[in-house]
């Protein structure tokens, strides 16, 4: 078991966004969290990755209690995340975006006097290639097309060589075609490297095509969990997604 989430609770000004969520993710699993808007998916991600302090509960990653650790330490333990909204370094080039993450991961960030330019060229190129951005390396990342920025976001996350990926709506705002390509790409990377993947997604066909297990979040609580078929036939899930029958 790589990730263990125990009874997480978070409220904002009395509104309970996450109301006691517990689940586990096995090493190498591809797992998704679905749920209507406002179900608490992003809040849950923010809590696991140290972006939001927990009101209650515990998060164990690879046997280490990360509940109270700051985000940068969690990242260094091998839990990488991407964001729903584009979250890159807009005025840096595509290459520099990735390179910054690579050099941090390789423990070079506190080097004050080496020239940064020639560092980790190969490693950075490799990641650019992996996310299909090798043709854009000198472009200023903020002026890239939306889909490319999303890919860059993924690239930055991969550059930290995480063991487990938490992707928050990796295809948000993409066309159907882009979505399919991106999901294929993610699936390939995850399987090649033997990573563990936990992601949220609004496109149900994507979710059911790639997930080995699906968690359903509704009003801050997990209401179902299981393989795609189990979730598809679960009456509670049908009620939320299809309206009351």
């Amino acid at each position: 078991m790589i990730l263990q989430v125990e009874n997480l609770i978070k409220s904002f000004d009395g509104f309970i966004a996450v109301a006691g969520v517990s689940f586990q993710v096995e090493k190498g699993e591809i797992c998704s969290i679905i749920g209507p808007n406002g179900a608490g998916k992003t809040t849950l991600f923010n809590m696991i990755t140290g972006h939001l302090p927990l009101d209650k509960g515990r998060v164990i990653f690879n046997g280490i209690d990360i509940s109270r650790l700051p985000a940068h330490k969690i990242c260094r333990l091998g839990l990488g995340r991407s964001f729903q909204r584009i979250n890159i370094f807009p005025r840096l080039t595509v290459f520099e975006n990735i390179q910054a993450a690579v050099l941090t991961h390789r423990g070079k960030s506190l080097d004050f006097f080496t020239s940064v330019q020639p560092l980790f060229q190969e490693e950075t190129e490799e990641i650019l290639e992996k996310v299909g951005l090798q043709g854009h390396r000198y472009e200023v990342s903020g002026s890239l097309a939306y889909g490319f920025q999303k890919q860059l976001e993924l690239g930055i996350t991969l550059a930290c060589e995480p063991e487990m990926l938490l992707l928050d709506e990796p295809t948000a705002g993409m066309s159907t075609q882009e979505t399919r390509a991106t999901i294929e790409l993610i699936g390939k990377i995850v399987r090649d490297k033997g990573l563990t993947l936990l992601f949220t997604e609004h496109d149900m066909s994507v979710v059911f095509s790639i997930s080995e297990r699906i968690l359903v979040l509704h009003q801050g609580q997990l209401i179902a969990s299981g393989d795609p078929d189990e979730v598809r036939t679960n009456p509670d899930v049908q009620k939320i997604y299809m309206g009351k029958k």
Partner: protein
């Protein structure tokens, strides 16, 4: 060596030839420009590279001034040692003040740096026994081996060049790259595994160190120092220099310092309405040249040579 380095060395040599003109005016002006240029460069490590608006940089400049002056006048420390010690005092003050400031962001960060700098000013202003209070400290003389304005000009040129070299090295290092990612997106930087507050604090300390070095130079250059040197208008002035020259280019702040100091010297010899002219320049700058002088020139070059 790259083309840029050749240009820099050429400029350095040209500046080094200035005393040959025999003009006391230019020696004075360029010493002033070098000192404030370094001050503006040190501020820009925070402003342009880390994305932190420090509105209290005069504190470290002032601490540099007073440390250097007091060491020379009261402690009898050798001139050469007073400079690095002044820098270390500036860095130490920045460590303490920065520790609190980096906990806040944006306007709150700016206001806290201002508040702390006013505290530093108040201490210097009121601590009569040590600092001479309102009267300041007089008679900070050149040491024997450096008994002329020209010699001090060369001393300043060496100290500023060396400091600039180190700052540029830092900017182009992995640490410098991470500072720019913090400027661009502190949240994302945290999620590539960087302790953002620690890096901001380190930048603050380095900036404080070089601000204090420029303050120390200024104390000797001016021969006397006053609490005014760490009062908030100095913070505003160095901020204006940085914006005027262009905060997204390394040498922009130096250019800003040169233009501002030259204009001030020229304009004040014709009219007493310098603040009015400065205000007009700022308005035009913010509306039409948000990238500052160097940013504007770079844009023009890019337009004329699109392939570059």
């Amino acid at each position: 060596m790259s083309r840029q380095n050749w240009i820099l060395i050429t400029i350095l040599v040209l500046v080094g030839l200035i005393p040959l003109t025999g003009s006391r005016y230019y020696v004075f002006l360029f010493t002033d420009i070098l000192i404030f240029g370094l001050f503006a460069l040190s501020l820009n490590l925070l402003l342009g590279y880390t994305g932190l608006v420090s509105f209290g940089q005069a504190a470290y400049f002032g601490i540099g001034c007073y440390t250097c002056a007091l060491l020379i006048k009261k402690a009898g420390i050798v001139f050469g040692f007073a400079f690095p010690i002044a820098g270390i005092f500036g860095a130490a003050a920045a460590l303490v003040i920065g520790f609190f400031c980096v906990r806040l962001t944006k306007i709150y960060f700016a206001m806290l740096t201002l508040a702390f700098s006013q505290v530093v000013w108040a201490i210097i202003f009121k601590w009569n026994a040590l600092t001479g209070g309102d009267t300041g400290i007089y008679g900070i003389d050149f040491p024997n081996f450096m008994d002329s304005k020209v010699k001090f000009f060369y001393f300043t040129l060496i100290v500023v060049s060396l400091s600039t070299f180190i700052l540029r090295k830092i900017i182009n290092s992995p640490f410098g790259r991470i500072l720019t990612t913090i400027r661009e997106n502190p949240e994302r930087t945290e999620f590539i595994g960087i302790n953002v507050k620690l890096f901001q604090l380190l930048a603050f300390i380095i900036s404080g160190f070089f601000s204090a070095i420029s303050g120390a130079l200024f104390a000797v250059f001016n021969h006397s120092i006053f609490p005014d040197f760490c009062y908030w208008p100095i913070s505003a002035e160095v901020l204006i220099m940085t914006l005027l020259g262009g905060m997204y280019s390394f040498f922009g702040p130096m250019v800003g310092a040169a233009v501002l100091l030259y204009l001030r010297l020229e304009v004040t010899s014709y009219t007493q309405y310098w603040p009015f002219i400065l205000g007009t320049i700022m308005v035009l700058l913010l509306f039409f040249f948000p990238g500052g002088i160097v940013g504007f020139i770079q844009d023009q070059i890019k337009r004329l040579m699109p392939s570059k």
